[in-house]
Amino acid sequence: MVAVTLPQLSLSMEEGKVLRWLVGDGDRVEAGQPIVEIETDKATIEVEAPEQGVIRLVAAEGAMLAVETTLAEIAPTAAGEPAPSRAAAAPPANANGGRPVASPAARRLAAERGIDLSTIRGSGPGGRIVARDLERLAPAPASSPAERPGLREAVTANIVASWQRIPHIQIGGELAAEGLAEARRRASLPSGEKVTVTDLLILAAVRALADVPELNGAAGRRAERVHLSLAVATQDGVVAPVIRDAGELSLAQVTRERARLVGAAREGALDPHDLAGGTFTLSNLGAYPVDFFSPVVSGPQVAMLATGRLAEKPVAIDGMLAIRHRLWANVAIDHRAADGETGARFLAALERRLEELPNRI
């Protein structure tokens, strides 16, 4: 069996969309025959069959897949052999009123691995998605299906799925951050707990989401309340515990909750409730000499804010050189939910909210 994978057509290409199959499932194909149209950010290209044989389609039309993902498999046959007929015709897998036809086992495996069944073409009778179709797309994690996937595996699976599914746009800019800097200087809590830049960024981001609510939400629904996922680096990788109802919290409450969740994350003591239900993610790498990074949106959320270091930079003001605090902020957005203009408005709102911080803490 020969796998036909999504080719990397340029160095920068990370993913492509299956636009249209040019052959049918079970057809005999010749080596070099075009079998599928792929859309990249640059162009639409045709992919050819590497061998002759009988083709089994794996990826569904419309699926956005990472480079190297298996698109189809070809069972080589000798020339002149007739293609064996399949037991049943294969209508598209999501012919069932929009709900993919899948075996119960396939559904379970898809749920466990965070795979969207609508991106898979079924090889079972009548186009039913069966377990082996998921194996082809994303091999099973090391743990057996009967066990609960570990936290790390679940996070990785979600990253993979998000990367494959979500069409990202990244809107970034270097924002004025004097307000942030001053707030950091002045902020102190009666309890003596230390207020960090992250705490202030949380406050500002949450307020900016009130100005641009299109970016707050998950699973296709705009959310009323903000449950902010905070990316935390731990020994086992990045996890994102959720600060619930962040829009209602004071600075003191944010600080306390942030400290609690980060501590628990680092000790591996988070429970599933802490990780569920986030509507927007903040990832702050400002402790490092990092200005810009483009994160992967954490599906099913629609946006993630990546912030770099708070630093003094030379700027031009009224034609004169000056030194001001600046902060690079990049918002990654699911392009299906919002576009560049929304991201731009969000950054504008964020900049305003950062500037007003000294008066509102």
Partner: protein
Amino acid sequence: MTEAGTAAGSELLELTMGEAINRALDEAFAAGEPIMHLGQDIGPHGGTFGVTRGLWDRYGDEVIRDGPLCESATVGFAIGLAISGVRAVVEIEFFDFVGVAMDQIFNQAAKLHYFTGGKLTVPLVIRTPIVARMGMGPQHSQSLEAWFMHIPGLKVALPSGPADAYGLMRSALRDVNPILFIENVRLYGRRGPVEPGRSVPFGKARVLREGDDATVVALSGMVHEALAAADTLAERGISVEVIDPRTIAPLDMETILASLRKTMHLAVAHDAHRTGGFGAEIAARCMEEGFDFLDAPVERVAALDVPIPCAPNAMAAVYPDAASVVAAVERLLALETADR
């Protein structure tokens, strides 16, 4: 009774399934407790299929008791013996004749313990062979085990080989419940190793062959067809797990479900008719208790829902065989099949 052998240092015997059952009966009759075997042709004749050969010579008329040809009263007498201190074994010569004795089996034997609030026990073994595939026609060819699985209070065993036949008969003759011990004429001649003293417990299935791609649960004669099918499929790189439940009441569903969770593809194979057969019960339970592990619907490999005809080619079209099991596994795995 556990499966651990109880006779230390005993050598393995090579016995046919008929000889194995004979040996278990012999041991029970020799043990000295009150026990009697009723039936027809079981005495000097040694049984139509030779299973009781030699017992009458050893134990005589009182104990190995040929009687009139009346299954109903014969089973009734056996129940009477059982409830008053004498363990009873009855042979119903062909499984097809069990209908004549049905009331005694399902209304009396099965229920006496229950409706007397536990005061009467019925240590009764009803032995009867499936006479499938012998070309004897519709009334001499049936596998009716599903009827008895349906009745609370009965135990039902279907050994597929000598060791299990011996071990299950040993357990049956120590049990105090009414038991349908379903033998198989085509399997009586099968040879295999038997460990003297080793009982096989009721309610424990046996995994005869391990596999990862599909599970076949098979009864009685179809066990061997399933194993042959597994060999055929192995040549194509498909690994099939074969399970013999051995007793269908009580039934070891846990072993079957564990296999389903592993392979996600399950077929049931039996000589009985498809509708309302054992396979239907397994399919329902897999759906109820293993739904999320079903990658395909449960396949039932069974006799067609027609009376079994006499002529060989007609008969062959009705019963399933190894090829039917292979085809079922192919459907489970949604493989392509050559035209059959």
